[in-house]
Symmetry: C2
């Protein structure tokens, strides 16, 4: 099997200066899975409530996402509501209703135990470990987290990090987790906690990857129309892991291309609300934008 | 002759979390000239007071900077005092004493009239035009400005921009000058005012260049020790223009290499207070760091 992702499936109500959506399909596992589905098979472990619209299930099936690990629990689906001002780097939360997500306990169908590639989206680090305990010997484990877990479950998070190969977090979280304002020193400190690779997400400034002694900086794509950044980080992770799993190249050069592929998918995602732009991409569009990133970053030797 | 720069020479008192200096050599024309001096001849048009230490004059002469256009006026030299917190992207001004700079009127020695490359550092846009009026037919005119002129002399600034080939300003200034929050739209709007090339300085996030339809993103160099960002923008411009003037290549590919060279020089500058790091670089160090930028930004095609 391809990639296993554990995370949230949500109904998002989002407002930006450019429009709004109500109870649109969202959640970290959703964005990740849809982005990764362009490159490889994806199996999703998550939970929804009894009110979860059947049309979303049908859509995820059109992307050939394996939903055997998607639990349906009594109660309502996880809901998030928030808004963005012109500074689209910063989400303002209006409402978080955990609902069925509050008691979520990931249980993996038997056939998932041989997953080779695992992405632990931003959930309680204890649950992230509970997932790893149910898997035999994954080749590559990537994980995300957030300031809430750094502040409230740091010891548990550090336990989880010991088992993670690739950590993808944003810039402020890197500084907070390491307790160090200089990003480069903070990155080195995090690499000493377990992960071999640290990917630093910087929103409209792109992505930095620390891989042992190598540092790679990928730009963000200059877009005239950014409508909604919700899910950009998970879409990035989906493109990144999906590409790695499909080409099976985890050399530094391979990871660099995968990082750009993640950035490609994230750049599409922010061009529309919810999954509007990434729900039905053409692979040619993806290749064309990858070449756009190449032109954007390219310069000759002296 | 090589490059003509007009701007300020200052005595800076700067405090950062990593140390402080008092009345150290600074000013836009100083940083620019020293950076450019590694690549080509530079002539400086600026003003100092009678209190300006002779040791600074001697230092500038060791960099072979032509000081025939450096006026010595009755009164005191321009002084700036400020501090930076851990967010080194943001300077906090404590004191600005314009002194002799208040009545500065750039007068070019006769031999400067044939300058081929001109950099108008951040001064009153009226004075920037007064410099251009004294020059015959420069091949390339680059200019910097700041929020103060955008807010207080916008019409004059727009007059100056009509005569400028390359504008180098920071990200917030791009948005403010264009009155548009989206950076890409703002850049296009500024390119319609006259400049053929817009260079957007983004501090620790690197530099973006808009050159007609081409966009280039250069990363910033990941540094473990950033001591003082004062002068980074002018050092960048000095490396950029110095390299352009030395290789005489203003194709898009040539400007991209020059942009990286500017970033190389700026990355050295922030590693020490005042001109501590860039006062005596070895050209080999410069080449080595250029290759470091190449490794930092490099990825393969699909």
């Amino acid at each position: 099997m391809g990639i296993l992702v554990v995370g949230s499936v949500a109904l998002d109500t989002v407002k930006t200066p450019f429009g709004e959506v109500e109870e649109a399909l969202g959640g970290s596992a959703t964005y990740f899975s849809v982005a990764a589905s362009y490159f490889t098979d994806v199996s999703m472990v998550a939970v929804v409530g009894q009110d979860f619209p059947e049309k979303h299930i049908n859509f995820l099936k059109t992307r050939k996402i394996d939903l055997n690990g998607l639990q349906k629990a009594p109660g309502k689906t996880f809901r998030w509501a928030g808004y963005y001002d012109y500074d689209l780097n910063r989400a303002n939360t209006l409402k978080t209703e955990l609902n069925v997500f509050e008691t979520f306990s990931p249980e993996l169908p038997g056939e998932y135990k041989d997953a080779e590639f695992v992405f632990l989206a931003n959930i309680d680090p204890v649950l992230q470990r509970a997932v790893l305990d149910q898997i035999n010997r994954p080749r590559l484990i990537a994980a995300d987290t957030m300031n809430y877990w750094i502040e409230n479950k740091k010891a548990e998070l550090i336990e989880t990090l010991k088992r993670v190969d690739i950590l993808t977090i944003n810039e402020a979280e890197v500084r907070e987790l390491a307790g160090e304002p200089n990003l480069i020193k903070a990155a080195r400190s995090i690499l000493s906690l377990g992960p071999k690779v640290l990917i630093v997400k910087r929103g409209e400034y792109g992505v930095l990857m620390f891989n042992g002694g190598s540092v790679f900086s990928a730009p963000a794509y200059p877009l005239e129309s950014v409508f909604d950044p919700t899910g950009a980080g998970d879409t990035f992770a989906g493109g990144f892991m999906g590409y790695v799993a499909s080409v099976r190249d985890w050399t530094d050069g391979g990871l660099r291309k995968a990082l750009v592929m993640g950035s490609v998918m994230a750049s599409f995602n922010v061009e529309d609300f919810s999954l509007g732009r990434i729900k039905s991409l053409d692979y040619k569009e993806i290749e064309t934008r990858f070449r756009g990133f190449k032109r954007l970053a390219q310069f000759e030797d002296l």
